[in-house]
């Protein structure tokens, strides 16, 4: 169940690691002992049927929910129990399954807000947001990357769905986090839009660690270095795309025809 990094000699610390992670909502056990280790620089996909607990897993890792038991480590340091904003400051950033942006702010402001903390601006109220040119430069760079520079002055709420999804990714990456969690980034997109989104995800995850939940199997198998299969709150298999494709248990539980 451990990642390649440890298999290679156990020296390198995983970028992201979960051990014995559990989450109960009342009597219902949604996450039932998840172990997951993602080495630095890996693109790791989590797949599984609806209701398997994929989004809950993301919510636990990113600090939106507190785990009932188990621990989460980011670059070796324990982060479970920390509030979401502190986990984010330690270099973990996430996107959401349902678009989660600042709808009344301009596209430019959306991205800029995501840049501020990482440039050390914190809660500064004694100097202009434009005082540090790095902020505008980084914002500009991100907007070019997500191809929304021409829309920068529009309120984010009026963008098309695909544009909002791109903005969501832009906000997620703008702070320069080393670990990026994307929750179904291509859900609801057309084929052409999905292709563009995948190309974008591939670019922005270059040199970073990516954990992605995705239903579109062509995206998963095209993008991921390794795949974990989550079924009823447990990871039933973890391996390279080829290994997962060939895994009988996975085929039975989930993949079925889709994997071909």
């Amino acid at each position: 169940m451990n990642g390649r990094a440890e298999a290679r000699g156990g020296v390198r610390v995983a970028a992201l690691e979960a051990r014995g992670l559990r989450k109960n909502f009342g009597a219902a056990e949604i996450i039932r002992g998840v172990d997951l280790s993602v080495p630095k620089g890996e693109r790791h996909a989590v797949i599984g049927p609806n209701g398997a607990g994929k989004s809950t897993l993301f919510n636990l890792i990113s600090g939106l929910l507190l785990p009932t038991a188990g621990e989460i480590r980011l670059d070796g340091a324990q982060v479970n129990g920390l509030p979401a904003y502190k986990i984010n400051r330690r270099g973990l950033s996430r996107s959401f399954q349902v678009t989660n942006i600042f709808p009344k702010l301009s596209v430019w402001e959306n991205v800029r807000c995501a840049v501020l903390w990482s440039r050390g601006e914190k809660y500064t109220f004694w100097r202009s947001v434009e005082a540090n040119p790095e902020i505008a430069q980084r914002t500009q760079q991100v907007l070019q990357e997500i191809n929304l520079i021409s829309r920068k002055d529009l309120p984010a709420g009026v963008l098309t769905y695909a544009e909002q999804r791109a903005l969501e990714i832009g906000i997620t990456m703008a702070g320069g986090a080393n670990v990026i969690l994307l929750d179904e980034p291509t859900a609801g997109m057309s084929h052409a839009e999905t292709e563009r989104a995948v190309a974008l995800i591939r670019r922005i995850s270059e040199g970073r660690t990516l954990l992605i939940v995705e239903h579109d199997m062509s995206v998963v198998f095209g993008l991921a270095d390794r795949i974990s299969v989550l079924v009823y709150g447990e990871i039933i298999a973890s391996g390279t795309p080829a290994e997962i494709r060939g895994n009988a248990k996975v085929r039975e539980a989930y993949l079925g025809e889709e994997a071909r």
Binding site: S62, F102, P103, K104, E109, W117, K122, Y123, F125, A136
Partner: protein, 436 residues
């Protein structure tokens, strides 16, 4: 709202003189206007009203740091206004008694400091929660401070409050602040400074994050910010400026009393901010000016001015949730597209029907008031110099008739005239890529 990307400005030597002043244009104009207003409105009533407007502007802008900027609905903003007033009055009295060489000019700072300190204290509790819980805590705190003010007589002076004499402090340039005009200039100076500072605050990293927290506090956490800290800072700074406004009010009235803490005061600032428009920085300024004007004018004209005020608030909430500023800003893209003139023609169609509705509504309200409240004076009443019987059938037919006819005509003018004209104008703006 648009943010130019920071590029090194290529200025030629010829540009530097006036161009360097250009970003300050608005502030220079505002300063000139504030300085010139007393020359246009010379009467004592006008000066008093201008002074009240200045105070109301600071108070409403401070309130909008919460409501419009950060999305926090407070029902107890008068707490910081009132405490600012009391501390200023006590500071003035103390400075007079101790013969300290402190000019009146700096006294609003005491109010601001008091507002800040109590906001730091109370905000520590109230900003732990957001939304409805925050609103309820703010209401509770307002009640708490309001009732304490009647119990702690030594500080709050009971029912009568605490009086002071603003003329007894150290004089600068031979100004004793006896005449209202001098008080006006004191208020105007603080008003200009406060507006500038509060505007500058919206342009800081924290100020931008206030808007982000207002829009989506969950997302703000995932870009590294703790929404509670953002809200707490907004609360503290807003308390500071409310305290400055309260300090100025106490200087203006030479009095601080428990009415300053009242729910009415907290309600008024909410109404002014909302009617002016919480979504734009200038909104509360417009709202404060309009509401102060109406409160002073309407209360002279009619006994039920609060009813009109309430109707106006309901109309704003229902038909113009962006307030006055929202209505004006809606026209920005159309103006830039050069399509405004066509729209004004259509608006002119609305004038007569709206006048008719207003006349009808005013008649109905005033006749009902007269019959209900002033029954002892008989049924004959006088409006706009005309005496008539409030029980006569003709008066009622006229009143209800103009109300209904005006309403019908307004609806017709809206559907046939304004709505299509608006669509056309919007279309033009859209063609030019000025709106979506």
């Amino acid at each position: 709202m648009s943010d130019a990307i920071a590029t090194p400005a290529a200025t030629t030597p010829a540009q530097t003189g006036i161009a360097r002043l250009a970003p300050w244009g608005v502030w220079i104009v505002l300063a000139v206007v504030l300085a010139a207003l007393p020359l246009l409105f010379r009467s004592g009533t006008a000066l008093t009203m201008l002074s009240l407007m200045g105070i109301a502007i600071i108070f409403a802008l401070s309130y909008n740091m919460l409501l419009g900027q950060t999305g926090m609905l407070s029902f107890g903003h008068a707490v910081y206004y009132g405490l600012g007033a009391y501390f200023t009055v006590h500071a003035i009295n103390w400075a007079i008694a101790a013969k300290l060489p402190i000019p009146l000019l700096v006294m609003p700072l005491v109010g601001g400091f008091a507002g800040l300190v109590f906001a730091i204290l109370f905000g520590w509790v109230s900003t732990k929660r957001s939304g409805t819980a925050f609103a309820m805590i703010s209401l509770g705190l307002a009640e708490l401070v309001g009732s304490s003010s009647l119990i702690l007589r030594s500080f709050f002076g009971g029912e009568e409050g605490v009086t002071t004499n603003r003329t007894k402090l150290l004089r600068l340039f031979d100004w004793n602040f006896g005449p209202q005009i001098q008080v006006y200039y004191l208020i105007a100076a603080w008003c200009l400074l406060s507006i500038a500072l509060m505007y500058a605050l919206t342009r800081t990293p924290w100020g931008r994050m206030c808007n982000a927290v207002r829009d989506n506090s969950e997302r703000a956490q995932f870009v590294g910010y703790n929404p509670q800290v953002v809200r707490y800072l907004a609360f503290c700074l807003s308390g500071l400026f409310a305290g400055v406004a309260g300090g100025l009010a106490s200087i203006n009235f030479e009095l601080a009393n428990s009415a300053l803490f009242s729910a009415v005061q907290s309600g008024n600032v909410l109404l002014a901010t909302f009617i002016g428009g919480a979504g734009h920085f200038v909104g509360p300024i417009l709202g404060a000016v309009l509401v102060t004007y109406l409160q002073n004018m309407l209360s002279d004209v009619t006994e039920v001015w609060q009813l009109y005020f309430g109707l106006m608030f309901i109309a704003t909430v229902m038909y113009a949730p962006g307030g006055l500023a929202g209505l004006i800003m809606m026209h920005g893209p159309i103006w830039r597209a050069g399509a405004l003139s066509g729209l004004f023609g259509a608006y002119a169609l609305l004038l007569a029907p709206i006048a008719l509705v207003t006349v009808g509504a005013v008649l109905v309200i005033e006749m009902m008031t007269h019959l209900g409240v002033k029954a002892a004076e008989g049924t004959v009443m006088k409006m706009a110099g005309i005496s008539f019987d409030a029980k006569s059938g003709l008066a009622w037919v006229l009143a209800l008739g103009s109300l209904l006819a005006g309403g019908g005509l307004a609806l017709l003018a809206w559907r046939r005239g304004v709505a299509p004209a608006w669509d056309r104008a919007q279309g033009k703006a859209r063609e030019k890529g000025l709106t979506v």
